[in-house]
């Protein structure tokens, strides 16, 4: 049951990657990046429960903080005008 969850998350991650490559505007790419980061985080958490490894959950906490900062700072950077300003 827990292996099937990992397979479903991996397929969803792949479809989100295709949608990231085919995105028209930069905000659709940012949305797909957010979805991809959440799916990678869930995949790491489920894999750490599957292996019963306590210290792999620290990686998950760190990834949550980094992905939140990436999305928020990129959105602010695009709103301020990007590199063309």
């Amino acid at each position: 049951m827990i292996i099937t969850t990992m397979v479903v998350l991996f397929i969803a991650l792949f479809i989100s990657l295709v949608r990231y490559i085919n995105g028209k505007t930069i905000w659709e790419k940012l949305l797909s990046l957010n979805l991809m980061s959440i799916k990678v985080l869930l995949l790491t958490t489920v894999y750490s429960i599957y292996r019963e490894d306590l210290f792999l959950l620290d990686t998950s906490v760190t990834f949550a903080i980094v992905s939140f900062l990436v999305v928020v700072l990129l959105a602010r950077f695009i709103l301020e005008g990007g590199r063309t300003k």
Binding site: W27, E28, L35, I38, L42, F68, V72, R76, I78
Partner: protein, 100 residues
């Protein structure tokens, strides 16, 4: 406990597949943001609750609860920042934008 955890995992599969179909079907950016944020937050809650019910040690449960609380705070903020950036950069809101 394992049976309840398995039921929550099956519900989370249904939610993830529904979110992917919804993001593919909608046309506008704001509809995609709405479905993506709702479905993804629900799937995160279900999967992490299933993992909390599945393990027995207290340290695992505390760390999973910390991850769940952090995601519940920060996931709406990041979606709101994407919508804020798109709206003030000049993308307009359409009236009817489904099933183009």
């Amino acid at each position: 406990m394992i049976i309840i955890s398995n039921i929550l995992l099956v519900l989370s599969w249904i939610l993830i597949i529904t979110g992917l179909i919804g993001i593919g079907r909608f046309d506008s950016l704001y509809s995609k943001l709405l479905t993506g944020s709702k479905i993804d937050t629900a799937a995160v809650i279900l999967i992490l609750l299933a993992m909390i019910l599945r393990v027995e040690l207290l340290s695992f449960q505390l760390k999973l609860f910390i991850i769940l609380a952090f995601l519940l705070i920060t996931s709406p903020i990041s979606n709101h920042m994407i919508a804020f950036s798109a709206y003030f950069s000049g993308i307009e809101i359409k009236e009817r934008d489904y099933d183009s």
